[in-house]
Symmetry: C2
Subunit: 336 residues, 2 copies
């Protein structure tokens, strides 16, 4: 493997000069530079970025720490789209992306910052982490630049990007109300996600501004899981037959509600309106196609990476970015 030493020898200059020429410094004679470039090409040189990282104390690498990257979670491709967005940005900016995963018990033994420091990543993006995850606290404490997806924490070294979940939920519930529904249930996710909290708040706000009273019994947790949501929906609809519409904190759970309705012989959307959240790919293929709140997952990732690299390259403080959502009206909700 060719090194700058080899180039120096062949070109008849010192390694310093080679380094400078290769890195585009302008204090190199143009002829010398050309010569060096030529030799580098001839020798098929590639820089050893481990060596460079070692001396510069940065690796031009960002880490991605996710929990949603395993066989089970394949159905809801949220993580994947976020990843695509991150990847896009990172490759434009000439960084590399290394994937940490928290699913293996082995890795679990390592702390968050150990993971990052060992790999010498310059910064890290966290996604799909629950609020009780021990990693999360470490983030706030550690001094590694970090962007959180969907967790609103802002410190000297951590920023976040998320969508406007309150408004998003409000859009969906407003829509149901506009369609004439007065008895609207909600299937929320679980209590370990900030987004659940926010979406619940949006639901309440919407009811409130329409003069409807909030009934806590009409809100149940479906754990962001299709089947749990189905079970919970069956219970809910059986217990409170007056409910004519359900807002779900995720499309996956809305799919579960669709199944619950079928199970209870309630026709959709005539006898039950359903709205979801996320606009996952499946949403438009469900029958009936799901009315939902779309969030741009790719953009979530893209912006997270952009923000992180901005922090890394010194242009300022970490900050927060809140993306818009969009109500997608399809056929799972109708006028009553």
């Amino acid at each position: 493997m060719t090194t700058i030493k080899d180039i120096a020898r062949v070109a008849g200059v010192s390694v310093t000069t080679v380094s400078r020429a290769l890195n585009g410094y302008d204090d190199v004679n143009e002829a010398t530079r050309r010569k060096i470039m030529q030799v580098a090409k001839d020798l098929n040189y590639s820089p050893n970025i481990l060596a460079r990282g070692l001396v510069m104390n940065k690796s031009k690498t960002i880490g991605l720490l996710v929990s949603g990257l395993n066989r089970q979670s394949a159905k809801d491709h949220f993580t994947f789209e976020v990843l695509s967005g991150i990847n896009e940005c990172v490759s434009e900016k000439d960084y590399d992306l290394v994937l940490f995963s928290t699913n293996s018990t082995k890795q679990r033994e390592k702390t968050y910052s150990q993971l990052c420091r060992e790999r010498r990543v310059d910064g890290v993006i966290l996604s799909g982490i629950k609020t009780d995850d021990p990693y999360l606290q470490e983030v706030v404490d550690s001094d590694i630049p970090c962007i959180l997806i969907d967790i609103p924490i802002l410190t000297d070294t951590v920023g976040y990007v998320t969508t406007d979940n309150v408004l998003g939920a409000k859009k969906a519930v407003d829509h149901l109300i506009r369609l004439g529904h007065r008895h609207i249930g909600m299937i929320n996710g679980h209590n370990l996600a900030f987004v659940s909290e926010r979406r619940l708040e949006g639901y309440k706000e919407s009811l409130n501004s329409a003069g409807l009273t909030f009934n806590p019994d009409w809100v149940v947790n479906g754990d962001y899981n299709e089947d749990t949501a189905r079970e919970e929906a069956v219970k809910l609809l059986t217990l409170y037959p007056e409910i004519t519409a359900i807002f779900c904190a995720s499309d996956l759970m809305a799919l579960g509600v669709l199944k619950a309705a079928k199970q209870l012989d309630r026709n959709l959307p005539e006898q039950l309106s359903v709205a979801g959240y996320d606009d996952i790919q499946l949403a438009s293929y469900a029958s009936p196609p799901l009315t939902t709140v779309s969030q741009d997952k790719f953009q979530l990732g893209y912006q997270a990476a952009t923000m992180l690299i901005q922090m890394l390259e010194g242009s300022g403080q970490p900050h927060a970015l809140i993306l818009e959502t969009q109500l997608i009206e399809r056929e799972s909700a109708m006028k009553r």
Copy 2:
């Protein structure tokens, strides 16, 4: 950041001893080792793997080079599931995964081996690469250990894992024939994928062993794209109304055919049977649910990583692995 030097100082030994103790060599006094371990923990030490990589000349990192990781390709989550499988294996074996992506024009300027050598990855997995991709030739030439997904090339340093595409296609077409179809068209992908070739071959074999003649006019390319497939299917079905069943080289294209049928007012499955390939998530949600050939994408990734790490750790030659597929009978194909 703590280094072994710090540990050495505090523990009152030399860096050599620290290194040996930390790496579990047995020529260290047990008391010394305990002391060192304790100091390391106290100082919250994490090894600098860049430095280690530099001297050992390996990075415990494997690269993933894919082309299917961008906004457009999100629909068919093949790449994502492969990635999950790779990630699972890699984290079990305590390697890290770095993502290269070929979508940025910038990266395009770098050759395959440059990418790998710069990052000092120990080996690389390629997926979603077309057969005319310039990277591909480089693989064969370079000496970097490499596993290809779905490209059957076997050399000293490159192995592959794929599924039995001939048999898979045969299963689907056999099924259509068994249902009584005699006029079976095929929507293939494009000519730049080995799998297309193989699936076509399976189609031919199936026809052949049923005594049906192969008609090249009944085979068109849909470019693995839903909409192209739809267009091509419309043309095909208009030109050859005698066709009663279509085998598609991917589910995504089968979805396109479903749309084409709707467009032509042909009821599915009564007036047209369709079989797909892949068993993507959407397949079971389509209406009618898609009869298809399932391949275990997670396993594809998992096995590729396993094989690569095996090669890396010296236990033998690269080799080939061919996974089974499974016919999934749903409702898009019926007896005639």
